[in-house]
Each structure stands twice: as C-alpha cells, then as structure tokens.
C-alpha cells in the first residue's frame, strides 16, 4: 500500500518550522543547566557577561524560547503535516500559511532584540507592572497572530476537504490537529486582550497604568489551555502513531479518542483560576468552581491513558508479548522514536499526579510558587511534550529531508539520558518545593537556605548536568541527520495506527463541530463571564511600570 505523498515544497515548509523550533530549543535549553548549576552552588553567570547580564535574563530566555517558541513552532509544523497527510490534500492556500509562519518568525526576532538587550527581563509570564520594551509585546503578538493565521489556513483546508468528502469521518490525525488549533484560537484571546488593551498601549506611553489583577486573569485565561495546546499534539502521536511504531498496533478506540479531544476543547479553558488560588482579587467561590472543573479535565486524560496503554498492549501482544506487564518488553524499544515517547509517557504519569496536587485548591497553599511547580512542569511540558516531540522528529526529520537518521542508537541513548536526568532533577525540585523552597530564585545565593535543602540542591545540579548531555546529544543527532550523506532507500513510512473499529461506525455527533464549539464558549461565558465583567467594570489602571532588573 503506498501512502499519500507530501510535495517537496510542503516538506520544506514543515521543515522550516522544525528548524526554528530546534534552534529555539538549542538556545533556550542552554540556560536550563545553568540554572540547575546555580542552584547547586556553581554559579556560571559571571562568565556570560556582558552577553547575558543576569540569572533572570537567562531565565526569561529559557522560559520564552522553550515554553513558547520551541513548542509553538514544532506544533505548527507537526499540525501542518497532520492536516495535509490526514486529509490527503494540499493546503487550500499555502501562501496564507506561509504568511502566518513568517509572521511568527518576525515576531520571535522582534521580541528577541529587547530580551537580549536586557530590556525585557520580565520572564515568560511578563506580569505587569514589570514593564518591558514595547517590542517585546509586539513580538509576542506577532507570534500569536501568526499562529492564528496558520490555523485559519488549516480551517480553510478542512472546509475544502469537507466539501469534497461530505459523508466521511475526518481522519483522526487531522481531526485532533484541528481541535488543537481551535482550542488555541479560543484561549489565546486572553493574552491578546491583555497585550492589546493594556500592556502594549502602556509600554508605548499611551496609558499611565495597568490593573495587575486583571492582567493576571487575562493571562491565565490563556495560560492553562496553553498546556493542552502543548500536550494534544503529543497525544495525537501517542494515540495514532506510537502504537504502530511500537509493534504494528492499532488504535484501541477511535470514538473514545475523539470524545477525549472534544472534552479537552470544552474543559481546558474555563479553569484558569486554578493558577490564581492565592490571588487576592478573585472570590473563593470562583476559585472553587474552577478547581472542580480542573478535576473534570483530568477525565479525558484518564481516557487517553487507557486507550494509549490498551493500544500499546495490543502491539506488544502482537509481537509475542505475554503476561500482565511483560508485553511491555516486546515493544519496539530499539526504535528511538518509540523509546522517547514511551519514556515521555511514563514520566507524564508522575506529572499528572503532581498536577492533581497543584490543582487541589487549598493544597495549593503549600505548593504555590515553590520549586514543586517547575519540578512538575519539567515532567509535563519539558518531558511528556518535549521528549515526545524529540521522538516524533526522529522519524519526521528523515521523512522531510530524505536523509537517514544518524546513529539511531545514539538517538535512543539520548532519550534514556533525558529520562534519567529528569527523574533526578524533577524529584529533587519536588522535594525542595515541599520543604518550602521558592521558584524563580537563584537559590545558590538566597540568604534563607536551611542546611537540609543542600543535598537536594546538589541533586538539581546533577540532574541538570545529565539533561545537558541529553540536550546536546539531541542537537548532534539532528544536525548529523540533516547533513547526512546517506539518504533513505525508499520513502520513510508515516506511522499510522488504524483504528480497531472502522471510524465510519463511530457516531456522527463525534464529527460535528458546532455543539462542541458552542458548548465550549458557553461554559467559558458561565464560569469566566461574571467575574471578568466585574473586574473590567471596576478596572483600576493605577499601576505605573517598573524596570527593576
């Protein structure tokens, strides 16, 4: 069976996304180990002067490039692939998507200038009244709008496909990508309003002050669904690609997979107050309601865990695996793409548990803004997502470039080294948080460190060193692959796990957009509307800006 083929132009276009993503990862991740070493008492920042002036300038680069740029570019590239390959048709308007992509690139470069000039050391959350140079906000806006434009290109392509195939079920990888895109377009309205109505005019001197509490509320409207924007592309791969790679497996339940994606669309935005449990200006009743909704969004993740594990088990048994757990050993662990994604999934399990703790309303009183939080999200975005994306790139880059993956064995080792380094790093960060250590503090220098933290701080450094090795290995494998003289013999096969049950038999309501979209918007209006209305009505633009770095 021959697969649908992407054109050379399409492959190049997706390749540009990956190149930008990997460059961002290279620069952004460089600072991670430096931060970890600093915690362990080994301060390398004096050697970076005058290029990088402080720990916080580095931390801004780390957060912005890793959490925002590496993820968004990789995701837009991967979704572009999924839409074209899934729908088996070219983009409706390639030019539009190109415009979107280059807007994102220009946006990153625009924001990079003030960040590198130390004029935007506001971290990736840019909480006002810390006031950055206007180009920082303009750059971020361009990145977001560029990603919208690419998304509109996906929707137009889908509409064209729908006209051509009125009665077909949307192929799963395209379906998941479109839901992810829509979720992103809805939730980014929060930061768009924050920047356009407050931060940008304020940084340009058009208004005197901002309302920090309202700004946080806009920010977290986007901030939580952001994590699903990161996660859902990895889920698409885990559901519909990984089982095939791991041993010729099939997707256990197509309809439940679709239902899970819809639930993410509906539930992932109206719960941002769980990042504001300890904010003074939000009434506890709304915090509590958002806490309950936060528990509910764990449900589609539990469904995902079941379907993915069941699909993998099918693959393992097909390879002759037996026993309750022994089939796991039969999965195709020697394939670096498989190893990376399986290890990512294992650590995500622990990330999920930590997330439940964070989400638990008053338990959050103990954890808020402690080192527990970065401990948690290095398991989620920096491993479940990042290591999965690395795994995806181990087949996607050869597919796009026609070059053989350089030394698959080293790629597999890379995944394991990340896994081990992250266990050490993240475990010690979690413990430090429980002991009361704050985040966003160069802990090597802080004056209030009790002796009992020291061994844990040292472990943060050890984990960081191991992660550094893995990060470099990833970059080497990518570079060597892209410049490999050995080309693939035949076209790289795109791993697609067929559903066990013909998707055509899944209920029609799982392929209708409007009920879910209206449902999502209605829920947002119900649980955000009253409080947002109240805050906007009582807006106090009383905070002038500060540059305190």
């Amino acid at each position: 069976m021959t697969q649908y083929q992407l054109s050379t132009g399409e492959k190049k276009f997706i390749g540009w996304h990956l190149l930008a993503a990997i460059l961002a990862f290279a620069v952004g991740s460089f600072f991670g180990p430096l931060q970890a070493f600093e915690h362990a008492g080994w301060d390398l920042y004096p050697y970076l002067k005058p290029l990088i002036k402080s720990y916080y300038q580095g931390l801004t680069i780390h957060g912005v490039l890793n959490a925002l740029v590496w993820t968004t570019f990789f995701i837009m590239g991967f979704l572009t692939f999924n839409v074209i390959f899934g729908l088996k048709r070219p983009l409706k308007n390639m030019t539009l998507n190109k415009v979107g992509f280059w807007m994102m690139v220009v946006g990153v470069l625009t924001a990079a200038v003030p960040i590198l000039a130390n004029e935007a050391t506001v971290l990736f959350t840019f909480y006002p009244p810390l006031k950055a140079n206007p180009f920082f906000y303009i750059g971020l806006t361009l990145v977001v709008v560029g990603s919208w434009v690419e998304g509109w290109g996906f929707f137009m392509t889908y509409a064209a496909w729908r006209k051509e195939h009125p009665n077909e079920r949307t192929p799963f990888i395209a379906f998941g990508s479109l839901v992810t895109t829509l979720l992103w377009q809805i939730c980014t309205l929060g930061v768009a309003v924050e920047i356009l109505t407050m931060l940008l005019p304020w940084s340009l001197g058009l208004i005197e002050g901002v309302d920090p509490q309202l700004a946080r509320t806009y920010f977290w409207f986007t901030g939580h669904p952001l994590v699903y924007f990161w996660l859902l592309p990895a889920y698409i791969s885990w559901y519909a690609m990984l089982p095939k790679q791991a041993g010729g497996g099939k997707m256990f339940s197509d309809s439940l997979a679709r239902l899970a994606f819809w639930l993410f669309l509906v539930l992932s935005t109206p719960l941002g107050f769980h990042h504001q449990y300890v904010d003074p200006g939000v009434p506890p009743v709304w915090k509590f309601i958002h806490a309950m909704l936060t528990f509910s969004v764990f449900f589609p993740s539990l469904m995902t865990a079941f379907t993915v594990i069941a699909s993998l088990e099918y693959a393992g048994r097909k390879q002759g695996g037996t026993g309750t757990l022994r089939w796991i050993g039969k999965l195709n662990w020697s394939n670096p793409s498989v190893a990376a994604q399986l290890l990512a999934g294992i650590l995500f399990f622990f990330g999920g548990i930590g997330g439940l703790a964070n989400a638990s309303y008053n338990v959050n009183l103990v954890l808020h803004n402690t080192a527990f939080v970065p401990g948690h999200f290095h398991l989620t975005v920096a491993t479940a997502v990042t290591l999965s994306f690395m795994g995806i790139s181990y087949w996607l880059v050869p597919y796009l470039t026609g070059k053989k993956l350089w030394q698959p064995k080293w790629a597999t080792i890379q995944a394991w080294v990340w896994f081990i380094g992250m266990i050490i790093f993240s475990n010690s960060m979690h413990v430090l948080g429980l002991l009361g250590a704050p985040r966003r503090v160069p802990l090597g220098l802080a004056p209030y460190i009790p002796a009992e933290w020291n061994s844990r701080l040292f472990q943060v450094g050890v984990g960081g060193a191991i992660l550094f090795v893995s990060g470099v290995l990833y970059l080497v494998v990518m570079y060597k692959t892209a410049t490999n003289k050995q080309t693939v013999e035949s076209e790289v096969e795109v791993p697609i796990a067929e559903a066990m049950q013909d998707p055509a038999l899944s209920p029609v309501w799982l392929d209708r957009w409007s009920p879910w979209v209206y449902g999502a918007l209605a829920l947002i209006v119900i649980v955000y509307g009253p409080q947002l209305f109240d805050m906007i009505k009582n807006i106090a633009l009383t905070s002038p800006g500060f540059r305190v770095w």
Binding site: Y56, P129, S253, S255, P280, N362, V363, N369, T370, F546
Partner: protein
C-alpha cells in the same frame, strides 16, 4: 453494515467509572478541607491605590507594623516593595506563642509573594490589592516569610521573620 454506535470495551467502562469515582473523592477531600476544616484561600479584602498606599497618612501601610487589637490577637500591616530595595516593612515581628495574627499585605510597586515557612500562609501580593490571611502561631520559633513571586533582581533576597517567643 452494522449500525453506528459508540463501542465501549468493558474494561474501559470500568476504568472510566473508577476515574470518575477517584476524581469525585479528590473533590470531596478538598471540599472537606475547605469548608469543614476551614483551610481557605485568600478572598478579596480591599483595594488600594498603589501610588499613594505607602505615603497617604490615612493608609495603614504608611506606618506598617504589628498592632495588638485584643490580648493575643494582632493585625500585621506589611508593605512589600522593590524600590528603593527589595524588602518587607517591617521585616521582623515578635509575638508570643498562641497568638493569632491577621496579615494585611500589599505592594507599593510590582507583584510580590508572601509565604510563611512551615505554615499554610502563602499568597500573592499585588499592587492595588490587599491580601489577608490569619494564622495562629502555637509553636515558638523563628518563621521566615519569603517572597515567592519574581519582583526583579533582588527577589531572592527578599524575606523577613516572625519570631514566636515561648
């Protein structure tokens, strides 16, 4: 052709039921802690003008500090600031063991945090808002309070202490 329907495997149905029950239990535990045991999160207390809160003579934060309002009961007005340097005013307070202290904290400039080590007190401090939380100190000792939100280069040195005497 078989009909369109949602096929759900028995194992999967059980798993989903298990999941719902677990999440309901978590929700119940959190609710009991919140409403039964009174472990509450901050609620809107008061709004202030950050430009004048530290200087207006009518503002308690123009003269921050500890006030005894009844025997063993205190109000602590604390001002967090990054300018001219990163500090809390006051940065040291002494109360006898068994005291109940209500903290009223606000910021004169950027966002800060306020976390008293070894207690449940941990909240954001925002310019324009007053964060309030009440804590009873039963055990004597020194309780550091530290800043938990990035507030500029000196964020990591911003802390103070409550000394609880026997």
């Amino acid at each position: 052709m078989s009909t369109q329907s949602m096929h759900i495997d028995a194992y999967e149905r059980n798993w989903m039921i298990f999941g719902i029950v677990m999440l309901a239990l978590f929700a119940a535990a959190v609710s009991v802690a919140a409403f039964g045991m009174g472990i509450q999160v901050p609620a809107p207390e008061q709004r202030v003008d950050p430009r004048t809160v530290a200087t207006d003579p009518n503002s308690p934060w123009s003269n921050p500090g500890l006030r005894e309002i009844a025997p063993g009961k205190y109000d602590a007005y604390i001002l967090a600031r990054a300018i001219p340097k990163w500090e809390y005013l006051p940065n040291e307070m002494t109360v006898p063991a068994g005291s109940t202290v209500s903290f009223y904290v606000t910021s004169a400039d950027v966002q800060h945090g306020f976390k008293i080590q070894d207690t449940n007190a941990n909240f954001m401090v925002l310019p324009g808002q007053v964060s309030k939380l009440t804590i009873t100190f039963d055990k004597p000792g020194t309780y550091n309070f530290i800043c938990t939100e990035y507030c500029g280069s000196g964020h990591g040195v911003m802390y103070g202490a409550i000394i609880v005497t026997p």
